[in-house]
């Protein structure tokens, strides 16, 4: 999976000349989201998300650590939500990816603004954010399916399905 988290930011960079930024899926973010759904071990998933973010930082004009921090938070948010809401099926994945992209956009611009004197939040215009939200939302199910398949192939077990927890409470008559 390290190959994936290293390779995806590079793929994103290779795609950049062909697709305008607004219409290019944020593959590293979507892969982190997919890992949160499919990767069984939370601890290694967190590390993978952080590594993916750091590679994006290395290959972008962002501050080193900016995407790493956001990737860790995105992983945690996706993991926590997926434990409470069923993410099986395209619709919940689309809805959550849309929300995650919007929050991620606020995070990127907010962190840049915070760390950069004189910066503003002008980039958070609907015209800038909404196309990204739409593209990521539409791409999320496909990325999830690919990552789930790869995780299955790597770990040799069925993923994307969490063990069912049965609430056991002693019966008191």
């Amino acid at each position: 999976m390290l190959v994936i988290v290293f390779g995806v930011p590079m793929l994103e960079g290779a795609l950049a000349p062909f697709l305008p930024a607004a219409f290019r899926p944020d593959l590293p973010l979507l892969v982190v989201f997919a890992l949160a759904l499919a990767w069984r071990n939370t601890a290694t998933g967190l590390v993978l998300a952080a590594v993916c973010g750091f590679v994006v930082d290395l290959f972008s004009g962002a501050l080193l650590g900016q995407h790493a921090l956001l990737s860790v938070l995105a992983f945690v948010a996706s993991r926590v939500l997926s434990q409470r809401v069923s993410m099986i099926g395209a619709l919940p994945q689309i809805v959550f990816a849309a929300g995650l992209t919007a929050v991620h956009a606020i995070g990127v611009v907010g962190l840049t603004t915070f760390f950069t004197p004189g910066a503003d939040l002008a980039l958070l215009r609907p015209g800038v954010v909404l196309p990204r939200v739409a593209v990521n939302a539409l791409a999320a199910p496909a990325v999830n399916a690919i990552v789930a398949t790869l995780v299955t192939w790597v770990s040799g077990e069925e993923t994307g399905r969490r063990p069912l927890r049965i609430a056991t409470r002693s019966y008191v008559p």
Binding site: M10, E12, F18, L58, F59, L69
Partner: protein, 300 residues
């Protein structure tokens, strides 16, 4: 009990990773504020290892792009050739007339000085990839400190200004494009000599200038003013597309079409000269900014 311990450990790991990222951001920001950054050994090593892989990943896309470009180019090559020959002849005539005019006005000395300013060793570098984030505009090049490239050096192409080197490793470097929202460069209108600042908007450029009577019109060529010492004066930046109507506000804006096609960049030249006024690069807005250059932070 085991579950509680597991949750505590996960919370601790999350805090550790987030803290590490935050510390890196603070360190990186501080390095930027001091005029550029040489990447730490581990991130530099990661970048050096990643650059050849990135080249490999980009090969299929590059083949597709070149093939498509050549196919499209072939379609109108004959007509374009004829047009270009005509334009070349016109340019030669115009060039001759301008030389005569310059001779007459005694400005050839100035041109000689400009040549000296441009007499900077340049290093050709290949673009390895564009920004991996959709929120920034930067490039990765395959030349680094081992080749004499350092933060703050200008990146240009044969057409004009491309950007500025912002981080280096031993064999690679990151450059911020002129399009980036954090980029700003002092510019002058070639025709009227009105001055202003060209800023990146993410997808394009705007020219901010002062004065209701400023003479800026669509079609005007914007060139670097060279006052900050980062870029030599006279490098082409872009052509004014539309100009905001004069209003009560003193500051006006014009949209600019960059002369460099950033989507088709394959090679750039690094000007192997670092300005002695790099401390001006990251000056805050609102203060006295005689020449904000690429890197003057204004937003993501």
């Amino acid at each position: 009990m085991t579950e509680i311990r597991s949750r505590v450990l996960l919370a601790g790991l999350t805090a550790l990773l987030a803290g590490f990222a935050l510390v890196n951001m603070v360190v990186d920001r501080r390095a930027l504020a001091q005029g550029g950054r040489e990447l730490s050994w581990w991130s530099g090593l990661a970048l050096d290892v990643a650059v050849p892989i990135q080249k490999f990943v980009a090969i299929p896309f590059e083949i597709a792009r070149v093939s498509w470009g050549e196919y499209i180019a072939l379609q109108g090559v004959r007509r374009e050739n004829g047009d270009l020959r005509g334009k070349l002849a016109e340019s030669e005539d115009e060039n001759l007339q301008l030389r005569e005019a310059l001779l007459a006005s005694g400005r050839l000395d100035r041109i000689a000085e400009m040549r000296e300013e441009f007499d900077v060793p340049m290093l050709r570098a290949n673009l390895v990839g564009l920004d991996a984030s959709t929120w920034f505009r930067s490039v990765l090049i395959d030349r680094g400190r081992n080749h004499g490239v350092h933060s703050g050096m200008p990146l240009i192409s044969e057409l004009g200004v491309v950007g500025l080197v912002t981080a280096t490793s031993r064999n690679a470097a990151k450059g911020m494009l002129l399009l980036d929202r954090q980029s700003a460069v002092s510019a002058v209108v070639q025709r009227s000599r009105d001055r202003g600042v060209v800023r990146g908007t993410g997808d394009g450029l705007v020219f901010e200038f002062v004065g209701r009577d400023a003479d800026v019109a669509p079609g005007d060529l914007l060139i670097t003013s060279g006052l900050g010492g980062v870029f030599p004066k006279g490098l082409r930046i872009g052509v004014v597309a539309t100009v905001e109507e004069a209003s009560a506000q003193l500051q006006r804006e014009a949209t600019v079409d960059p002369v460099v096609d950033f989507g088709r960049l394959e090679q750039v030249f690094v000007m192997l000269r670092r300005s002695s006024t790099m401390d001006l690069l990251y000056a805050t807005e609102g203060g006295d900014q005689p020449d904000p250059a690429p890197g003057a932070k204004s937003g993501p």
